[in-house]
């Protein structure tokens, strides 16, 4: 914990410094990264700690976002209603999808979570009144009441940072709790876990639901970030992107999701916004093809550094 505090202090001081340097754009970028850090961390709980390779996490992420969007379109803009609603909807989706999917194992589990996520995607895209394929624009960020507003970049950043910090702490406590230990055991050897008396299905489902709920919160936040909800949030490419973040950062580690999100979004931003001279002479619009670099980096990480960034920096075995 003592290593973490200075980092959080830095993160807290960051926007003030940016404001002084007229770099508010970076504050907004940082908020975005933190939101994806939450989403990736939520997936890490199910995938890394729980060992459940869910290829459909975008469903919970997007469902949370769409809940906020749809409520806003219907006139409900209160943060205190919209955000818990987003979490609840995502949790319910995870409950239903998990309940059915967890009866399968291995590759069938991966495929069935993917298929369910596609169902959710098509379901939302078919709602023409809420944007259909074009997505849904919100009139502004959720309203916290009490005369406050989240429209400012700084205020928004601190809210997101606080939520990220709380969730990270929650995951830390969870990992060290009875539940965390049980889940790890189930991941390690689920047959034996059942044979010593753990109702494996129940624990896996609980883990899956918590993971989905957290993703739903991230979804609510992303809807607020740009005041826009895009159906691509629900697409399986989004699920894949979240998985990339988790494996980049470190599967099953506390900060894996955050590091991965930071690395991936940072990489995309760097490629898009900073032109490398010699590369530009070779291939004039290389910056439009950031996907190539992302793909190549992912491939390299997967083949060469399976434990991700955390694995590269860790000296002992991961938590």
């Amino acid at each position: 914990m003592s290593r973490v505090l200075p980092i959080f202090l830095l993160l807290a001081a960051f926007p003030l410094a940016m404001q002084a340097m007229d770099g508010l754009f970076y504050v907004s970028l940082a908020s975005r990264m933190l939101i994806y850090a939450i989403a990736a961390t939520s997936l890490n709980l199910a995938l890394g700690y729980g060992g459940m390779v869910s290829f459909g996490h975008a469903a919970f992420f997007g469902a949370g976002a769409y809940t906020v969007g749809i409520l806003a379109a219907e006139g409900v803009t209160s943060l205190w209603l919209a955000w818990p609603a987003a979490v609840t909807v995502a949790a319910l989706a995870a409950l239903f999808i998990g309940a059915v999917s967890l009866r399968t194992r291995g590759v069938y589990f991966i495929m069935i979570t993917l298929a369910f996520a596609q169902m959710v995607y098509y379901l939302f895209v078919s709602l023409k009144t809420y944007g259909g394929e074009d997505g849904l624009a919100l009139r502004g960020r959720s309203d916290p009441g009490f005369g406050l507003s989240l429209s400012g970049d700084l205020a928004w950043y601190y809210v997101v940072l606080a939520l990220f910090g709380s969730l990270a702490y929650g995951l830390h406590r969870l990992a060290g709790s009875r539940f965390g230990r049980a889940i790890e055991a189930i991941r390690e050897n689920s047959a034996r876990a059942e044979a010593i008396g753990f109702p494996v299905y129940r624990y896996q489902l609980a883990c899956f639901v918590i993971s989905g709920a957290a993703a739903g919160l991230a979804g609510a936040l992303i809807a607020n970030q740009s005041s826009y909800v895009s159906p691509s949030l629900l697409h399986w490419i989004q699920s894949g992107t979240l998985m990339i973040m988790v494996i980049l950062g470190g599967v099953g580690t506390l900060w894996g999701g955050a590091l991965g999100a930071l690395a991936l979004l940072g990489l995309e931003h760097l490629i898009a916004d900073y032109q490398i001279g010699w590369l530009a002479r070779l291939a004039p619009n290389y910056q439009d093809h950031a996907g190539l670099a992302v793909g190549a980096v992912l491939l390299a990480v997967v083949l060469a550094a399976p434990r991700g960034l955390v694995g590269m920096f860790a000296r002992r075995k991961s938590a």
């Binding site: 995938l47 390779v53 290829f55 059915v100 009866r103 399968t104 291995g106 590759v107 069938y108 991966i110 495929m111 069935i112 993917l114 298929a115 369910f116 596609q118 169902m119 098509y122 379901l123 078919s126 709602l127 023409k128 009144t129 399986w236 490419i237 894949g240 998985m243 990339i244 494996i247 599967v251 291939a283 439009d288 093809h289 996907g291 190539l292 992302v294 793909g295 190549a296 992912l298 491939l299 997967v302 083949l303 399976p306």
Partner: protein
């Protein structure tokens, strides 16, 4: 609802299903024999379609371009297997998913680099742009009939290859028990490369044939890949027969659902709701089908592995 409409949609479903089979067959073999989830399969389909379009442009002939596209994609597939995918056989499924997902990203960008971001044109051969009159008086697009013909021919050929030839026997042995096959002295390395190249060629065939009907654009692989996976999960991993049955099921249910559900809903729901609910439910129909099949047969309809 006329009989013509039913027949037409039935044929469309058959056509789509047979093309799905081309993808599913390669996918299920790779999965069954090498125990590898290959998300890049859709990218081979895309590359096949793009190469076909380019070869048609270069040679001016659909029929000349087709074997060229198949061969070229087969080579791409073989190269991919030799350089990258080999390293993934021993890894866990998550690693395979991520690595092949990375390949999708790279392939999409590479295609964009070479051919640009706009969809490109691929036309049916001029001799087949018109309709054909079927027995019974119905008109049906001749090109679509060709697709059905090609699909059936390939299915029959594959059946012979897998069931009646020595190579096929090796493939089936590999699918049901890889260790045993290896112990019996089968050159696993070359078998794998061969299976992969064949799968790639089949993808290219599907891409080339469907190109004139669907758009040839970046990302076309992803949409059909999901369907192919649904097919092999329904059909049973490692089973060609399962892939065929699954593809036909999915093709017909999907096409039929999209055509008839909105109409069906329209009969008892107010038009506003029917026009929204119809397409929504139709899109998820095949996923529901998959869920139902998996509920009763968690290993699919014809699992290859005992």
């Amino acid at each position: 609802m006329s009989a013509t409409l039913f027949l037409e949609q039935g044929l469309n479903g058959l056509q789509f299903g047979l093309m799905l089979f081309l993808l599913a067959a390669g996918l299920t073999l790779v999965f069954g024999i090498m125990d590898m989830i290959n998300l890049a399969h859709g990218s081979l389909y895309m590359v096949g379609a793009y190469l076909m379009a380019s070869f048609v442009q270069a040679t001016g002939s659909f029929w000349l371009a087709l074997p060229l596209a198949l061969a070229a994609t087969g080579v791409v597939g073989a190269l991919l297997e030799l350089t990258l995918l080999r390293r993934l056989y021993a890894r866990d499924h998550l690693t395979q998913v991520l690595a092949t997902f990375a390949i999708i990203l790279i392939a999409n960008e590479a295609v964009r680099l070479v051919w640009g971001s706009q969809p490109i044109l691929l036309n049916a051969p001029p001799s087949l742009t018109g309709p054909v009159t079927l027995p019974g008086g119905m008109q049906y697009a001749s090109y679509r009939l060709l697709i059905i013909g090609v699909g059936v021919a390939v299915a029959v050929l594959l059946y012979f290859l897998v069931a009646k030839t020595r190579v096929g026997m090796l493939v089936r042995a590999g699918a049901s028990n890889r260790e045993m096959a290896r112990a019996m002295g089968v050159d696993i390395g070359r078998l794998f490369t061969g299976v992969f190249a064949l799968g790639a060629a089949l993808c290219a065939l599907a891409g080339a044939m469907l190109g004139p009907i669907l758009a040839v654009q970046v990302g076309m692989g992803e949409n059909i890949l999901i369907l192919a996976f649904v097919v092999i999960v329904i059909g049973g991993i490692g089973s060609i027969r399962g892939a065929l049955v699954g593809s036909l099921l999915v093709g017909i249910v999907d096409t039929g659902g999209r055509a008839f559900l909105p109409l069906l809903f329209g009969t008892f729901l107010p038009p506003q709701m029917a026009s929204a609910a119809g397409p929504a439910i139709a899109s998820v129909l095949i996923y529901l089908l998959m869920a139902v099949v998996l509920y009763f047969r968690p290993q699919g309809l014809f699992p290859a592995r005992g």
